[in-house]
Subunit: 349 residues, 2 copies
C-alpha cells in the first residue's frame, strides 16, 4: 500500500536523496544550503506530482509552533459575537493561522475545559471572551508565557491585554440621551453580572444619573444575563411596577428582543408608552416595528485588533506591556425614544 500520504521520507527514497535535502528544498532554503538547481527542481517536481503537503502535527511537535490560535466565546449564535468571530478568523487566516473554536455557553467550567483542550493542542495563543467570573485559569496560562488576549470582557485589576468597546462612555451617552429627552424613571436591564461590559455599562447608567443630580432607583436595575429570556422576563416584571418606568436602557441586543416581546404582549408601544435604547446595533435594528435607537460597537475592528495584538505577541517573543484598548461606540438615532412631557428635572446641565 503506497496509498498513504507522501512524506519527506517517501520523496527522499524515491529520488535517492536525503530527507534533510527534501525538507530544505521544500522550505525554500535551497539557496541558504546551496542545493544544486538540479536537485532542487527534481524535488519540487516530485512534491508537486505527489501532491505532497507537510504534516503539521509532526511539524508542530518539532517546531513547538502550530500556527493555530484558540478562540473561546460565550455564544457564537449571538450576532455580536458572530461578527467578531468572522473578523478574527479572517484576520488570523490572512496571517497564516487557523482557529480552534469553542463556545463556552457562559459556563466557566466549559471555558476551563476548552482552555485545557487548546493548550493540549499546543495553540500558539488564545483569544478569549471570558465568562468573567473566574480568572485563575487565565492567569495560569499567561504565567506559562502563552500569549493571550481578552476580547470584549476584561478584568480591571488583571494585567492581561484586552480589546473592548468603551462601554462606560457608550452607556453614559445612551442614558444621557434618555435624560435629555426628559426621562427620569429609566430602567436598566443588565446582562451577566460581574462581566466588564455589564459593569461598565451599569456604571455609565449610574453616572449619567449622578451627573444630572438624579437619584438612582436600584429597583430599576434588573436582570442577570445577556440572553433574550432575561430581557423578556425582566420587562414583564418592570411593566408591573407603579409608576412605570418611562424608558428602558437595554444592555444587549438579545435582551432588547426579549423586552420588545414583553412590551408588545402587554399591548404597549415603543416609544409612545415606553422609550428604549439598546446596546449593539444589528442589521435588523432599523427595520424593527419601531426602528431602534442603539449604541453601536465596532465589532469588526474589535476582532481585528485583538488578533493583531495576539499575533504580535506570538511572533515577537518578548511579552509586550499588556495594553488595554477601548474602542469608541456610536449612538445611532432612530425612533425608539420619545420626548417625555412630564419634565420634572431638577436641573438640566
Amino acid at each position: 500500500m503506497k496509498n498513504s500520504n507522501p512524506t519527506l521520507k517517501s520523496i527522499a527514497l524515491k529520488l535517492g536523496v536525503s530527507v534533510t535535502t527534501v525538507s530544505r528544498a521544500l522550505n525554500g532554503k535551497s539557496n541558504r544550503y546551496r542545493i544544486s538547481k538540479e536537485t532542487e527542481l527534481k524535488i519540487l517536481k516530485a512534491a508537486k506530482e505527489l501532491a505532497y503537503s507537510p504534516n503539521q502535527l509532526a511539524r508542530g511537535l518539532r517546531l513547538k509552533r502550530t500556527n493555530t490560535i484558540g478562540y473561546i466565546i460565550p455564544d457564537i449564535s449571538n450576532p455580536f459575537f458572530a461578527s467578531i468571530a468572522k473578523s478574527v478568523e479572517k484576520s488570523a487566516r490572512k496571517f497564516g493561522y487557523s482557529i480552534i473554536l469553542c463556545d463556552s455557553e457562559e459556563s466557566t467550567d466549559i471555558e476551563k475545559e476548552s482552555l485545557q483542550l487548546m493548550l493540549n493542542r499546543k495553540v500558539d495563543g488564545l483569544i478569549i471572551s471570558p465568562v468573567g467570573l473566574e480568572v485563575s485559569h487565565l492567569v495560569a496560562v499567561s504565567q506559562k508565557n502563552i500569549p493571550i488576549v481578552l476580547l470584549d470582557r476584561y478584568f480591571p485589576n488583571l494585567n492581561l491585554p484586552f480589546v473592548t468597546s468603551d462601554n462606560y462612555q457608550g452607556a453614559l451617552e445612551a442614558v444621557n440621551l434618555l435624560i435629555e429627552n426628559g426621562h427620569t424613571r429609566i430602567a436598566c436591564i443588565q446582562g451577566l453580572k460581574n462581566t466588564s461590559p455589564n459593569n461598565d455599562r451599569v456604571r455609565g447608567y449610574k453616572d449619567a444619573h449622578l451627573n444630572k443630580q438624579l437619584t438612582i432607583d436600584e429597583s430599576l436595575i434588573v436582570g442577570d444575563s445577556f440572553g433574550e429570556d432575561n430581557g423578556y422576563i425582566e420587562t414583564k416584571l418592570l411593566l408591573r411596577k407603579n409608576p412605570l418606568p418611562t424608558a428602558i436602557f437595554s444592555v444587549s441586543n438579545l435582551i432588547s428582543l426579549g423586552a420588545i416581546r414583553a412590551i408588545s404582549e402587554e399591548g404597549l408601544k415603543i416609544p409612545e408608552d415606553i422609550s428604549m435604547i439598546s446596546f449593539d446595533d444589528q442589521p435588523y435594528s432599523r427595520f424593527l416595528s419601531t426602528p431602534m435607537t442603539t449604541v453601536s460597537q465596532q465589532s469588526t475592528q474589535i476582532g481585528q485588533i485583538a488578533t493583531k495584538l495576539l499575533l504580535d505577541q506570538i511572533e515577537s517573543k518578548r511579552s509586550h506591556d499588556p495594553q488595554g484598548i477601548f474602542l469608541p461606540t456610536k449612538i445611532i438615532l432612530r425612533d425608539s425614544i420619545k420626548r417625555n412631557i412630564n419634565l420634572k428635572l431638577k436641573s438640566i446641565g
Copy 2:
C-alpha cells in the same frame, strides 16, 4: 529550567519508572498490564501534582487520530450559519472533539485552501457547507477515505452524505401560500446560483406555479447571492418594473433585510403595497415593522445530525452508505402577506 510542561518522560524520571508504565497508568490501562496498585497510585499522584496533560500533537502523530474536526462555512456572521455552528461545536464537544473553523466567504479558493490546511492538521473528518460551484477537492478528500459530511448544501449527483432542509418543499409551500392569497406576479430573489438550497428553492418556486397552471415569468427570478446587498439591489430594480410584482419570495434572511430596506426607501409598505415571504426564521423576524412570514429551518438539528453522521463515520471505520437527509421546514405565519384582490387566477386547485 524545569519550567517546561511535564511530559511522560519527566514523570518517569522523577519516579524512577519507565515512560511506558507512566503512559499505561495514565491511560487507565493499569489492570490490563498488571501494574501494581502502588506504582499506579504514585504515578497518578505525580501527574496530578504536576498538572500533567498529554501533548495532543505527539499523540495525534502517533495515533493518527486527533479528535479534531474541520468545519467550513461560507459566512459565520449569517445567523443561520451561526446557529448551526453553535450546535455543531456543542455536539462535537460532547463527544470529545474540537472544531477547527474556517469561513470561506463564499469563495471556492478560500474553501480549497482551508480544506488543505485542515488536512495538513490531520483532522479526523470534515463538515462543510461548500460554496457549491466546484467539487473536485471534495471528491478527492472523500477518496482518501477522510470522512466528510456536507451541510446545508449538497450535490445531487455526488455520492457524499449530507444534511439539509427540504428546501424544495419549503419553497413550494411558501409560494403556494402566496398563490393561494391571490398573487400571480411573484418575484423570486434568489441566492448564490448553482448551490443546492438555491436551486431547490427556485425549483419549488417554479413548480408551485406549474402546479397551478401559472406561467413563469423568468424576468421575475433575479439575484445571485445570499447577502443583504443582493436583496437591496434586486428589489430596487424590481420596484421599477411595470406592472409591479405583487409579492416577493425571498430566498434568505439577509436578502429579506435588503429587500425591506429598498421597499421602505421607495415609500412602499409590506404587505399593503407588496407581500413578502422569506426563507429562514430569525429571533427578530416577528418584531420587524411588518412581522415577517417565514419558512423556518431546523438549524440546531441540522448541525446535530451532521455532526452525528460524521462521528459515526469516523468511529466505525467502515464507510457507510452515504446518505442524504432532508429535514422538513415549517411556515411561520405572520403579517407580511396580504390577500391580493385582483384575483385573476385561471383556476384554483
